[in-house]
């Protein structure tokens, strides 16, 4: 299944997610006027979400927590700084898609 969503981060920027998924996230693209440092930080985040399983036994907030925690893991491991976007809003947008 393929879905897109436009999302506004509270006190942040707008972003657009394009996601293809089934039992897992197959592909994801996060597009917007935010800032991420270093430059490859966005690629690392998108890559970390690929193949993330979307367990149908997990409901709503649990899936969101899983996605958010995955992003935070990559952010912390690679000292990524995000301005105008955050892991919470990315997870929230993905949840709305799935």
């Amino acid at each position: 299944m393929y879905k897109e969503i436009r999302y506004k981060v509270k006190n942040g920027k707008f972003f657009h997610i394009k996601i293809r998924f089934d039992k897992k996230i197959e592909a994801i693209e996060i597009i917007g006027d935010f800032f991420i440092y270093p430059d490859n930080g966005l690629y690392l985040i998108e890559n970390s979400l690929k193949n993330l399983s979307l367990d149908k036994n997990l409901i709503g907030d649990k899936i969101k927590d899983k996605i958010r925690d995955k992003i935070n893991e990559i952010v912390n491991k690679n000292s990524i700084k995000m301005i105008g976007i955050d892991s919470e809003s990315i997870a929230g947008a993905i949840l709305e898609c799935i």
Partner: protein, 248 residues
Amino acid sequence: MKWRILNLDTFSCYMNMAIDETISEGILDGSSVPTIRFYKWNPGAVSIGRFQSMNEEVNIESCKINGIEYVRRITGGGAVYHDTEGEITYSIIGNESLFNKGIIESYKEICAYVIDALGILGIDASFHPINDILVNNKKISGNAQQRKNKVLLQHGTILVKLNVKKMFSLLNVSKEKISDKLIKNVEDRVTCIENEKKGITQDMIYNALIKGFTKDKECYFGELTSIEKEKANTLSERYKSDEWNFYR
């Protein structure tokens, strides 16, 4: 620490972006010195942020009809229309250690140079996080920063004249952005020096910017080195490519 000032000059969008990146790379390998440059764009162009989609942000057809070029920046942020006579762009490039460590704080620090320059012209401006400069709640300057390998590049625009109809014919502004700011008319979002103060010439603006950016700094007026010119020429080809501009 001496800053090199590159005097106001005009290039294509590809060359402007290539020069900024060339100097950034040069700071890293020692072949460039900390630099402040001022430039204009000819032909006029639209630049989009690193993480935006060209097709989403830019009306490509309208650009082609109007002879406007389009390019993806290496910095994040939003889409900007750079009118040849409508704005002046600055960039400041140096080792991260020369600036405030915090990202928002460094935006504020560098935007203060522009705010000082506008103050010299009698225009009361203020910094609006993350990266905007406002006059009477309208945006007069947008700024974008890259930090890579401990080198900071920030560039930004100062709007001199505004052709709002032309700007928004070239940019695709989403309905979400308009409704979010609770305004009916997108023309309420932006302003320019000409709207805020009559009788300001380009020379006056440029002299004010020089004062704003060089205050409390040791500076000299210089030029691009032959190596920088050669590197920028090569790099400008990447900025022309669909592979770069349309990669997302």
